[in-house]
């Protein structure tokens, strides 16, 4: 039964892969010629000649690296097709990533991204076929590795920024009061025009109107009361727990 299920998944994936490969191989030249003809029809001017379109400096390759694999990168290695479990190693730890150079981290990020895409494709296909995904823990491992890589890169950026500028936060911001009287950390956004020319920004109110002041006072009182209540509760519970769980050694 497991073999039948496994063979179904293999057959499904193989079929999918073949279909994808055949579709891509015969639509590619069509697309290229269509683009060229469209380009010619909408550009009657003589200075945009065909040699301009086809010359190397105006045609940037999609990849900047040497490896040029096709859509098979979205799928696992062929020997893993149809397996119920795929062996995978431990995720990268932050300690291991901190000793790697920036270039290595950059390359690793894209390797992990491609692996994640492959696993997500496999997950979606398994959902479509209503079968369990082989080894879903691989996805968690890849996500954790990527998160840790991001943490390491952020640490390095923070260190450099602190050293060179003394700024703790990468994105500027400040404490502001909103219309409801609440003080919050407002994170700045990037705009092409200064604030005095931005009519939508000028309509935003970063102050509390005078009739809101009593409510601010009341909410402050509420917060202070809850803080005092929590402290009293903790003290009371400490006494209770000391009575409930007396400190004694396990053995006589």
């Amino acid at each position: 039964m497991a073999a039948a299920v496994a063979s179904r998944l293999t057959a499904a994936i193989c079929r999918q892969f073949q279909r994808v490969v055949t579709v891509s191989s015969h639509t590619q030249p069509q697309y290229a010629t269509q683009a060229l003809s469209k380009f010619h029809s909408c550009q009657p001017r003589q200075m945009y000649d065909s040699w301009w379109f086809r010359s190397s400096m105006n045609n940037r390759a999609l990849h900047t690296s040497c490896v040029r694999k096709g859509l098979e990168e979205f799928f696992d290695l062929p020997e893993n097709w149809g397996e119920q479990t795929v062996k995978s190693g431990a995720p990268w730890t932050a300690k291991q990533l901190r000793v790697k150079s920036n270039e290595d981290l950059h390359k690793l990020w894209y390797v992990l991204l491609k692996e994640k895409n492959m696993l997500l494709t496999s997950e979606q296909e398994a959902k479509r076929q209503r079968l369990p995904m082989p080894s879903p823990e691989r996805l968690k491992k890849v996500e954790r590795s990527m998160k840790r890589l991001d943490t390491v890169v952020k640490e390095r950026e923070d260190a450099l920024r602190l050293l060179q500028t003394g700024q703790e936060k990468g994105r500027p911001g400040e404490w502001r009061r909103n219309v409801f009287g609440k003080t919050f950390w407002y994170r700045f956004r990037e705009h092409p025009i200064p604030w005095y020319l931005n009519s939508r920004y000028k309509r935003r109110r970063f102050f509390e109107p005078s009739h809101v002041a009593p409510y601010t006072r009341l909410s402050l009182e509420k917060y202070l009361r809850s803080k005092i209540r929590k402290e009293k509760r903790d003290k009371r519970n400490q006494k209770r727990f000391a009575a409930m769980f007396p400190k004694k050694t396990a053995l006589a």
Binding site: K100, S101, E103, L105, R156, Y201, F241, L251
Partner: protein, 216 residues
């Protein structure tokens, strides 16, 4: 950033503050039957033990101090930190039927009941007698459990991983990085950001100047 924070919040399981943790995992049907969404159960008081003070690990041999199997030694199979529970293999058992359907009464099996941390002690491996434990530091700076009575160090127990992998017998797959490559240091600290370094290595020349933008 806000969207990812929201998604991660949704992914993490959220429990009410008075949720009663049991021996079954929270997503199982048995746990859902014990803690249906609207029900408020009687509060169970758990002694607050800090993470550093917890001394019983999975795989340790411990002795039971009180209960039905008092005086017996057993291996720890599971630890529940939320309730300060410890489950030993084959000890403190009660019997029940499992997998009953229709007329068939099911299999009669022995199921272990959890023991509180204060009812078990670790065993000194040399003389196999129960002792009190303290956390102390060795000369190298390693934090170890030391038995108060004899002063001997109790080593960390070796326990099989849940996925069945034995680290010493692991063979790397085609997509795994070898240990030597993983531990190799390639980082040289410099005053360049990651973007600048990568652009240098890939010979990307960015001559465009960023347009003046306003931050507010």
């Amino acid at each position: 950033m806000r969207l990812t924070a929201l998604l991660s919040m949704a992914a993490k399981a959220a429990f009410p503050h008075d949720y009663r943790y049991g021996t079954s995992r929270p997503w199982t049907i048995a746990a859902q039957r014990l803690n249906p969404p609207g029900k408020k159960r009687r509060k169970v008081f758990v002694e607050p033990i800090a993470n550093e003070d917890w001394h019983v690990l999975r795989g340790d041999t411990v002795e039971i101090l009180s209960g039905k199997d008092k005086g017996k030694q057993g291996k720890v199979a599971q630890v529940f930190r939320r309730r300060n529970w410890v489950i030993l293999e084959g000890l403190n058992t009660h019997y029940r039927y499992i997998g009953r359907s229709g007329d068939y009464r099911g299999t009669y099996i022995a199921s272990e009941a959890p023991l509180l941390l204060k009812d078990v002690t670790l065993i000194d491996p040399t003389d196999r007698k129960p002792t009190d434990i303290e956390w102390r530091y060795t000369e190298e700076g390693e934090r170890v459990r030391v038995s108060v009575r004899t002063g001997r160090i109790i080593p960390k127990p070796v326990y099989q991983r849940k996925d069945g992998i034995i680290p010493q017998q692991w063979k790397d797959g085609p997509k795994d990085t070898s240990p030597e490559d993983t531990l190799q240091t390639t980082y040289t600290p410099s005053l360049k950001t990651l973007e600048e370094e990568v652009m240098e290595k890939m010979n990307i020349q960015e001559d465009r100047r960023p347009r003046k933008s306003y931050w507010y």
